[in-house]
Symmetry: C2
Subunit: 192 residues, 2 copies
DNA sequence: TTGTGTGAATCCCTTCACAGCG
DNA sequence: CGCTGTGAAGGGATTCACACAA
């Protein structure tokens, strides 16, 4: 939703307007925002500029996050080329793959490294996030390796529930599950 | 989680075991399953085979879902090549793109079609799902076109909130948002 | 005895409603 | 006035606890 808030010096937006954009309710927007402080003006709404800046800080987008990409397959390359990535403060600082044919190839400025180097790369480059774009069978091992190296968060595309220590946030993107959610809803709706 | 349940004729699994795998609680598993009927055996647990079959039906996985892929870019190709896709009952029946250079190319057996044909393709092939792997600027238009053609569900990779009629399920996969969720959690944790 | 299925208690999130500030 | 911020109410989901079936 952030991307829809332009820099319009002085312009304000009401919780009602934000709610419409985000498919939610005005009360919900106000409650959520109030959770982080009260930066709206009564009778006016929220200053667009201030709102953007505050949310940037709350979401940690006021800094650059060094990311290591694990898996130089199709998903990996789709992510790597995704323009919003860098634009939003996520910088790919290393690419790792286990396939000997891919190791040594260059993607942009980066040379694909062997998986064996993952741990040392994370440490040396002070990477905070890893993106796991690897087969399910390899994901747990890579996750453990990353945690050992001191990673702060994991974005996991492999269709497995990773077992990681408490306190290491994991976000899962499971394409098949998304489709299953759709087929469930369709099936469900057609039975009523 | 389904993929972790093997065919082991006669073997049973307890809510406790399922809970561990799914990072949840035994009570949660029992409540969820009981919502669809009571197919566990007291003192034993759930028959793995029966559980799998029942869930397949509940999730609508006992049928093949014809899918149209819109956008033959990197994300599109990653999805198209994803082996679990077909294995789980999702069959790509058409590929559509707006780039004249891509139209006419073959991916496997399928020829990439122009976007103009989307509506007729959905109708002719009785597609139930569309996958939107297109830029944000094109997504809303494609969604509307798909809805007009009678689509049943949308898997949206574009970073926009699609406006679709009630009753058409939409699942969103927003890669940047997933990363933002991670950086938020990390930022949050480091402030306590 | 083991582990399900389920009411009851609890928690959390959403919605309501309105006091109060600009 | 208009719209935020927030207690209070409401509702849905999670957790507890236990009767009961195998």
């Amino acid at each position: 939703m952030l991307e829809s808030i332009q820099d319009d010096g002085g312009v304000t937006v009401s919780s009602e307007q934000l709610a419409r954009r985000g498919h939610t309710t005005a009360a919900q927007v106000r409650k959520d925002l109030s959770h982080f402080g009260s930066f709206g003006k009564r009778g006016l709404g929220y200053s667009v500029d201030e709102l953007r800046d505050r949310l940037r800080i709350i979401l940690g987008l006021d800094q650059v996050w060094p990311v290591v990409l694990v898996g130089a397959g199709r998903i990996g390359s789709a992510l790597f080329e995704y323009p919003d990535f860098k634009r939003r403060g996520y910088e790919c600082v290393a690419i790792v793959d286990s396939n000997p044919e891919k190791i040594g190839r260059k993607w942009g400025e980066l040379v694909i490294q062997p998986t064996a180097k993952l741990e040392s790369l994370i440490k040396e480059l002070c990477a905070t996030l890893v993106i796991l774009a690897v087969p399910a069978s390899a994901a747990q091992l890579v996750a453990e390796c990353s945690v050992n190296a001191g990673i702060n968060g994991i974005l996991n595309f492999a269709p497995v529930q990773l077992q990681v220590p408490d306190g290491i946030p994991v976000e899962n993107v499971n394409l098949v599950m998304e489709l299953e959610a759709l087929s469930f809803q369709i099936t469900r709706a057609s039975k009523t």
